[in-house]
């Protein structure tokens, strides 16, 4: 088995690397003729590529944790409203307190996402997290929070433009400052997430078996959900809502390496990174010099996949 995991890892990393290098040298700006091409590569394209990889990895991990912990194949940070909550909190900060330093963007997004999760769990308190209904309530919650976000945008027309581009899930105009923020957050979160893999494997055996093997189910759930929400929030704080990445990445990873979380979690991070990188590269090259939001492309791939999952899902 080990061979399969290694092979998959190598293949995924190669794909990411090839896409990254291709992305580095393609784009609207013709590198061979222009002056300052080195600057473009170092400061703009490289930053974007690193950011896409980091944000995608965070989303993939977040989705994987959520699906593992509530055993729900349809769940993902954006489908249960957590991303919308992070988006609302961050927009509120950008528009209502424009003088605050950007450092506070990430804590605010995390708080927004956590509050949304608590609200969702409170709404679902009588339903023992029935998968389909959880997603239904989650999606509506996210419609509601998005409506609030839009209202904030409409009522503060002066600052709307930057926030709007940011919200549609775009990687335009991000630089090294955001990368350091995201990197720091991930360096703390990812190792903690990976140590959970054994407990998540136990959880997959069912609540009772896990308890009898000496693992506290409730504690695992709480920690994993907290981590998942935080991971989604830091990614939203930097790139806006890239929809459906958290849904597809874990599914693809499961196909590639199977259900063992020791391999599944890293694989989900890598597939997430690859998805966002591909989406962003396509978004900025396909109609250059126009730039489409990367979120549009993740939705174009993700929504049909979600529909496919729906037709396969048997747990109604």
């Amino acid at each position: 088995m080990i061979n399969t995991q290694w092979r998959t890892t190598v293949i995924l990393l190669t794909f990411i690397l090839v896409t990254a290098v291709t992305g580095l040298f393609t784009g609207n700006f013709n590198l061979s003729t222009a002056v300052g091409s080195e600057w473009i590569i170092n400061n703009i394209r490289l930053a974007r590529i690193v950011l896409a990889v980091l944000a995608g990895a965070a989303l993939g991990l977040s989705g994987c944790l959520i699906q593992g912990v509530i055993r729900n194949p349809l769940a993902a940070p954006d489908l249960i409203g957590v991303s919308a909550g992070a988006g609302l909190a961050a927009t509120a900060m950008l528009l209502l307190f424009p003088d605050l330093s950007l450092f506070w963007l990430m804590p605010m997004a995390i708080i927004g996402a956590l509050v949304t999760l608590l609200l969702l769990l409170w709404l679902m308190r009588n339903h023992s997290l029935n998968p389909a209904r959880l997603v239904l309530v989650g999606i509506t919650l996210s419609i509601w929070l998005t409506a609030f976000t839009d209202w904030l945008l409409v009522s503060h027309p002066q600052q709307t433009n930057a926030a709007l581009i940011w919200l549609t899930g775009s990687l335009w105009g991000r630089g090294w400052q955001q990368i350091w923020m995201l990197l720091t957050a991930l360096l703390i979160l990812v190792p903690v997430t990976l140590t959970l893999s054994l407990k998540l494997n136990l959880l997959a055996l069912g609540d009772e078996t896990a308890e009898s093997l000496g693992s506290s189910v409730l504690q695992t759930r709480k920690i994993s959900l907290f981590l998942a929400v935080t991971l989604a929030a830091v990614s939203v704080a930097v790139c806006g809502a890239l929809s459906f990445v958290g849904l597809i990445a874990p599914h693809m990873a499961r196909l590639l390496v199977g259900g063992n979380h020791r391999y599944l979690l890293p694989a989900a991070a890598m597939t997430g990174a690859l998805l966002v990188l591909l989406a962003d590269t396509t978004a900025r090259t396909i109609a250059a010099p126009l730039e489409l939001p990367a979120g549009v492309f993740t939705a174009l791939i993700g929504a049909p996949y979600f529909l496919f999952l729906l037709t396969r899902y048997r747990g109604w």
């Binding site: 339903h127 239904l136 999606i139 919650l141 509601w144 409506a147 489409l292 549009v296 929504a303 979600f306």
Partner: protein
């Protein structure tokens, strides 16, 4: 048959409250229309001016030439009329959808009809598909709505004859996400984004009498068609077999109702953009008040939907005064919590 029918629909028990509800909603609608015609403006518009306009129209057939009168007559009045008509259309479409699918969560927005219509409209307006641009607007939006409706029905298990409420809604929402992504791409590629973005959120800005002229024949025929089939919807509520036994073809009825739904939704979206949650909430609220008899439910829903959208329009002007919030946002802000309450209560009847 008449006796059994009356018993099944609780007709006699609901007749008296239904009448008072009817009167209440007419008052609510008229008050909403009057307030929305003059409220929320930086100009000083009053109800006296509105009354004066009506007196002038009746007596002389023309209106005075001052600024306030012209503002009310040529900007506010068509806007209010359109809000009322679209509200009524969406509410009836929701009631019909809940009737023919027996799904309490059915509504034009949640089943993807709104996004389908919007997507086709954007494709037609930007000229991406030349053939589409030559069709009348309502016809292209109707195509989009019909396409989305059929897809959701198929994904929801319609092909195997087992419709599942939650599955249909989830399919509708996912399809909406897909169609919205396509719509956004087309808009950005065509660089007209700013103007149509506000329309996409469901907006009553910049509508005039010419829009009203395009709108009313379609919506009126949709409303009449729904009222004509309302008594058969009562029979359908007893179940497909019972309906067939009583001489109503369930599938033919579904087809006619679908045509009415598509007509009503497509017209609304073509003029005001996709407005969510009206079609879901209004029939539910009306059902609580007047019961399940569609002959009463449909007119009452129409009135309440019209009133709701007028008041929502008024609210949309005050929420971020002096700039204007798209009315679709207002309905989403009010509607989504109500829907969450409905969905988390968990009383799904299939």
């Amino acid at each position: 048959m008449t006796l059994k029918y009356a018993a099944a629909t609780n007709l006699s028990a609901d007749r008296i409250p239904a009448f008072s509800v009817f009167v209440l909603f007419v008052v609510l609608l008229l008050a909403g229309m009057a307030c929305a015609s003059v409220g929320g403006s930086t100009f000083n518009l009053t109800h006296q001016q509105l009354a004066q306009i009506f007196t002038d129209l009746v007596t002389t057939g023309s209106v005075a030439d001052d600024l306030a009168t012209q503002l009310i007559y040529s900007i506010r009045l068509p806007r209010v009329m359109i809000a009322a008509a679209v509200g009524a259309a969406l509410a009836i479409a929701g009631a019909l959808m809940q009737g023919i699918t027996r799904n309490p969560l059915a509504s034009p927005a949640l089943f993807g009809l709104n996004s389908g219509a919007a997507c086709m409209l954007v494709l037609a307006e930007t000229g991406m598909i030349p053939l589409l641009s030559q069709l009348p607007l309502v016809l292209s939006t109707a195509t989009g709505a019909a396409f989305a409706g059929v897809t959701v029905l198929a994904l929801g298990g319609g092909l195997r004859g087992k419709l599942h409420p939650t599955r249909m809604v989830l399919a509708g929402i996912a399809l909406s996400a897909l169609l919205l992504a396509i719509t956004r791409t087309v808009l950005i590629l065509d660089e007209q984004a700013q103007q149509i973005l506000s329309w996409l959120a469901g907006s009553l800005t910049d509508v005039g009498w010419d829009h009203w002229q395009q709108l009313w024949p379609w919506i009126l025929s949709g409303i009449i068609a729904s009222i004509c089939i309302s008594h058969k919807l009562n029979i359908l509520a007893l179940g497909d077999e019972m309906a067939t036994g009583l001489g109503t073809s369930a599938w033919a009825l579904r087809l006619w109702a679908s045509l009415a739904i598509i007509l009503l939704t497509a017209t609304g979206v073509a003029i005001t953009g996709p407005i969510s949650f009206v079609g879901l909430l209004v029939p539910h609220l009306s059902r609580r008040l007047v019961g399940n008899d569609y002959r009463i439910l449909i007119p009452v829903s129409a009135l309440l939907g019209a009133a709701l959208l007028c008041w929502a329009d008024l609210l949309s002007r005050y929420m971020a005064f002096p700039s204007e919030t798209p009315v679709g946002l207002v309905t989403a802000l009010i509607g989504a919590p109500c829907f969450i309450w409905l969905a988390s209560r968990g009383q799904e009847r299939t």
